[in-house]
Amino acid sequence: MEKYSVIGKRLPRLDGVAKVTGDARYTGDIILPRMLHGKILRSKVPHAFILNIDTSKAEKLAGVKAVVTGKDITDVPHGFVRADPVPAFFSDKFSLAKKKVRYVGDEIAAVAAVDEDTAIEALDLIKVEYEELPAYFSPKESMSPGAVRIHDHAENNVSVVISFHIGDVEQGFAESDIVIEDTFGTQFILAAAIEPHAAVADFSQAGDVTLWLSTQVPFYDQTIIAETIGMPVSKVRVIKPHLGGGFGGKTETPTLFPISALLSKKSGRPVRIIYTREEVLATTTHRHGVSVKHKIGLKKDGTIIAVDSRFFADGGAYTGPSLLSMFIMGCLQNGPYKMRHFKYEGIRAYTNRPYAGGIRGHGAIQPRFVVESMMDMIAEKLDMDPLEIRKKNAVKAGDVTPSKFRIKSCGHVEAIDKATEEINWKDKWRKLPDGKGVGMASLFFASGAGFSFFFNNVPYHSGVNINAEAEGSFTIFTGTSDIGQGSETVLAQIVAEELGVGLDKIRVIASDTATTPLDLGSYSSRVTTFAGNAAKTAAYNMKKKLFEATADLLEANKDDLEAKNDRIYVKGSPEKGITISQAINAYIKDKQDALVSEGHYNPPADVGGEMRLDLGEVNISPTFSFGTHAVEVDIDKETGVVKVQKIAAAHDCGFALNPMAVEGQIEGSIQMTYGQALLEEYRIEKGCSMSNSFLDYKMPTSEDMPYVKPIIVESIDPEGPFGAKEASEGTNVATIPAIANAIYDAVGVRMKDLPITPEKVLRALEKKGGK
């Protein structure tokens, strides 16, 4: 008999029918009676004091019902990383500018009108007087002596500095037989979810507000909206309807959320704001572009001894979640390879341009491109197979890394073997004709942030409640945000498995701050581990109650009972039992009470704790994922065009709760890294966004994508629910270096700057000459 009935199965998602019929309602689809349409006036200058905002003409325009400016919000700026002991100045963004604008796109005023045309017309009637300041479009400019401060607190316009040193790298390099050093660069890319950010706010006469938001973090938004407007958190209700993709771009509260609430408050009518694509691209989170200096020292046998890396990022006008970005870029180098000495410095500069934060693969994409390229460069020097050098240094289950990460399960070596076998590495590496090549790279990612960096004090990171219905079904209440990854389906599978019922007996109510228990949100690949464990616990507690209520009826010890096939019965004698419905009714009759249960998850004691980002010694996550991508490429040597033929992507997700969903995560996430490797680049010129449409911002289409073969590796993690860990952000982290390494195998040029455009390849080929 199979071990599991519901988990481990390729089950279709619960919201599938709604999504293929057009029934699924997204934020922008919501239409409320008397609803107004909001538009935001944005700064047209990159850096200036605001001297005056004249909204009088706009207010007089027929159809305009409310105009708001920075005067209408509190003096509490918002930030993403704000729990103690993080200094308050890392919260540096006002939803509507107070005194100053810091980039072209900064919010200055907003209008609500009876229709969009009127709102657009009204924006043109608002007159803003600026006192322009020198603007800086690169860290070189903003950090030069004498530059005006973009934020008062930031000397030399340094936004974030993270630096730590574990062991002694100088000694490590001295002990090394070989030391290699190089520089790399990555570009800015965008989350580019197809659904633009949207908000609908409905402020009641009684003074509370309900918002429908396109968000990955309803509970954070709730707090930020309350603080921005100056009202109790309890009077702000945030509901996330269906969400059209997040990828990190909907993690930091976008300003339209508080602004829509404010406009609704002022106008006394519901207000909807939907960003234009241009607003999404120019004003919401994008991935940091970095320049990197990286140095690795090794023994002759390939053993890594010391790593010294310096990351430098152009951060843009505000901080967003970048304290984490800069920290993670360092500490995620702590795996999947062992090292004794480790030094990292990450510096982020403020500049007058759109700002960067965390996008899928947050803080992992950039260092992994660097490290995995370096691994291949080292392997070549030592004349080792890239596969062998990785295996030789691979961390194993039970290891503790220099940053105190505890490796509880590890399928890295299995992933290396499976991915390389899939592309027939042994017969191809260094053996293909000129222009063709194979490459590989590994990945390492966290299964959720192990500390609460937003709230100072949380009862738990994820909570799940379950209500039993007399008919024999269950309703799950969860604060998690299904952003498309299928988390509601997976939570339902976990609960169904634990309770021994079919998936059709489970209903999920999610992402409503007023009715669902706290969950910190959908970011850092945390939902499966955190909410999954909470769901499993809640279901287990529910089952215990059912067993207690049933034991007498079945004349059995409650510990001898089993729940399966919608029944509860005595282990080993399925005929001796009752239906779940009968059991629930027995409980209700006996207790004269509703049958409900709760489950909470907090990371174990060896995770998180005080955020000593300065020491670099924080176990950031309950557990970690591993994986390897192996790719095959064809290079057109006349044009420099790189054609990726195949990507074999093996991912250690612990246990695949729903293999179809895991495959979908692998295949889909690779669209983003394939794009970042070869195509995508968010371009800004003198602070002005130049990639303002999906024509200019080139993400891969169905005709661009290579064949992706997802390979699931299961290491059965002791911490995750049923052994599961993340399969979301980590799944694409190895694509870029694997492609770069394959290009090297094919034509012998080492691409160190992203994106790897045909022009760059052709230049490199000409520089190299010959062959």
């Binding site: 072209v104 195509l679 303002n692 005709e703």
Partner: protein, 330 residues
């Protein structure tokens, strides 16, 4: 993004177009809408009147006869062009070019008349009203006094990027234009273009394109259009090259070569053609023709693509398109 307000007019027949254009100043014709409507949403174009011509069935015909050649009504969709049997068989380059425009939806909507009339594009021009508000100066193409592509340039350097024109030039197409008096004139498609980025074609405000004609190529003719874009779909070419070659007994009897996305219009490369004509087709000869193309083109820099790269690319695309055309000619 919303469209600006305008008055909507509908043309029932070809005569209607002329009279509506004459009567209503500041009018634009909307056929497929895939080029003009985005520009209107961005407020690059804010017409008082929009003339919908999509109800004129006469302009949606594809006619072919061995003697008469091919006649395409200007409202034939790019999808229909790319799938038309005579086009695929005898005017391959055109089928390839129209079949590679943007996406299937755009090809289902966009027309051949629209595609040849597409204006040049530029990252400083094809931007929204909101975006432009942050810029103190307008560029030439928007009626301003400068070009942002190359500082100090005395003229607009927007890039012409349409796919079908080089194919049509290679195939020797002619365009029928109806002017403000209702008079028709037929011109070589090469003459349709000004080679000036600011206004790439000769159409006046009251003119419109009625038809495109292509003579049936002689026996032994093959043609090919090759496009290199950053993406496989939803993209304009980084460069595109079309070649039409007539071969008899291994010798090139005739050749026409044209490229796109290098300047203010599609460019015919006569110097490359001359190398082929009258000579026996060999790989070396084709390389020489490609070298000639490389020497001739002086592309504009474009987005993040350098002049250096574009010239190299043109060389390769010209070479490959000649080769493929020759293969089809046999």
């Amino acid at each position: 993004m919303r469209l600006p307000k305008f008055e909507y007019l509908e043309a029932k027949n070809v005569k209607d177009i002329t009279s509506l254009l004459k009567k209503n100043k500041e009018a634009v014709i909307v056929a497929g809408g895939t080029d003009i409507l985005p520009k209107m949403k961005q407020r690059i174009v804010t017409p008082k009147f929009v003339i919908n011509v999509t109800k004129i069935e006469d302009l949606k015909k594809i006619e072919f006869g061995e003697k008469k050649g091919l006649a395409l009504g200007s409202l034939v969709t790019l999808d229909a062009v790319s799938k038309s049997k005579p086009v695929v068989e005898k005017f391959t380059a055109l089928a390839q070019a129209s079949g590679r425009v943007a996406s299937s939806q755009i090809r289902n909507m966009g027309t051949i008349g629209g595609n040849i009339s597409i204006e040049s594009m530029c990252m400083y021009y094809n931007q929204s009203h909101e975006w432009r508000k942050g810029r103190p100066h307008l560029c030439f193409k928007l009626g301003g006094d400068r070009c942002f592509v190359a500082k100090g340039s005395k003229e607009c350097l927007a890039l012409f990027q349409a796919d079908t024109p080089p194919a049509l030039i290679a195939l020797g197409a002619k365009v029928t234009i109806v002017d403000g008096t209702g008079k028709e004139k037929v011109i070589d498609i090469e003459k349709f273009y000004t080679q000036k980025s600011k206004k790439v074609n000769i159409l006046k405000a009251t003119d419109f394109v009625k038809q495109i004609q292509i003579p049936t190529p002689p026996k032994g003719t093959g043609s090919c259009y090759l496009k290199m874009a950053q993406r496989e779909a939803i993209d304009y070419p980084v460069a595109g090259a079309a070649a039409c070659v007539t071969v008899s007994g291994g010798k090139c009897k005739n050749a026409r070569i044209a490229v796109t996305a290098i300047g203010g219009g599609p460019l015919r490369l006569k110097n490359a053609e001359e190398i082929l004509i009258g000579n026996t087709i060999t790989d070396e000869l084709i390389e020489k023709a490609a070298d000639a193309a490389y020497e001739k083109v002086r592309p504009m820099p474009h987005f993040n693509i350098s002049v250096w790269y574009k010239r190299k690319l043109i060389r390769v695309l010209v070479k490959r398109s000649i080769k493929q055309a020759c293969n089809k000619a046999v």
